[in-house]
Symmetry: C2
Subunit: 129 residues, 2 copies
Amino acid sequence: MMASNSPCAACKFLRRKCNQDCIFAPYFPPEEPHKFANVHKIFGASNVSKILNEVLPHQREDAVNSLAYEAEARIKDPVYGCVGAISVLQRQLIRLQKELDATNADLIRFSTNQGSSFFNYPSNWNNDS
Amino acid sequence: MMASNSPCAACKFLRRKCNQDCIFAPYFPPEEPHKFANVHKIFGASNVSKILNEVLPHQREDAVNSLAYEAEARIKDPVYGCVGAISVLQRQLIRLQKELDATNADLIRFSTNQGSSFFNYPSNWNNDS
């Protein structure tokens, strides 16, 4: 009862009345005050509300969660934000692809060597008369 | 001469005088109006300037470029923004790791098989008396 009457984290932060049609309320529960504080600091409340109004209702939760992720990453790393995570992942992908290429080359070399020991053609194969 | 006198893309967008100490000017040249328009739309000019003032001067170019990357990604994909790229990269990493594990398993199986054909123990090894 108390929870449903208390304003959402966004309205509490912005010190405004939280109405039933509040666009923030479903995604910024009062128990997670940092989630709104972070997106407010990085994107601004009006940009967040613009994005929420721009996407379909069933996409809003994903939109808020990705904005919260980006905001947290930018607060932790003001220079690179979550683009830093993209760089790390891209470097890991390149490393793993190289490792896979090397392992595949080993496998091909191995199977070629094994092949030559499997098929014991007579040494005079071409001289057989 | 003209270029150095014309306001930077940020000051032109914000219709204000571009001074010599403009924090935006080194990173938002007039030739790239979209770069500022994008970060303004997603983060807001004041948040961008706050971030620029928060980081060291030699980090500002990287900060602006990562903000421009994030802003463009959010405009293209309002639901996931550049977090969508992170998900794609994470899925690629998982797929590649599985492929590497499978190739390593093949390599171990191959080398074990080859080993057993190399060493031709007599079939009555344990019954030899």
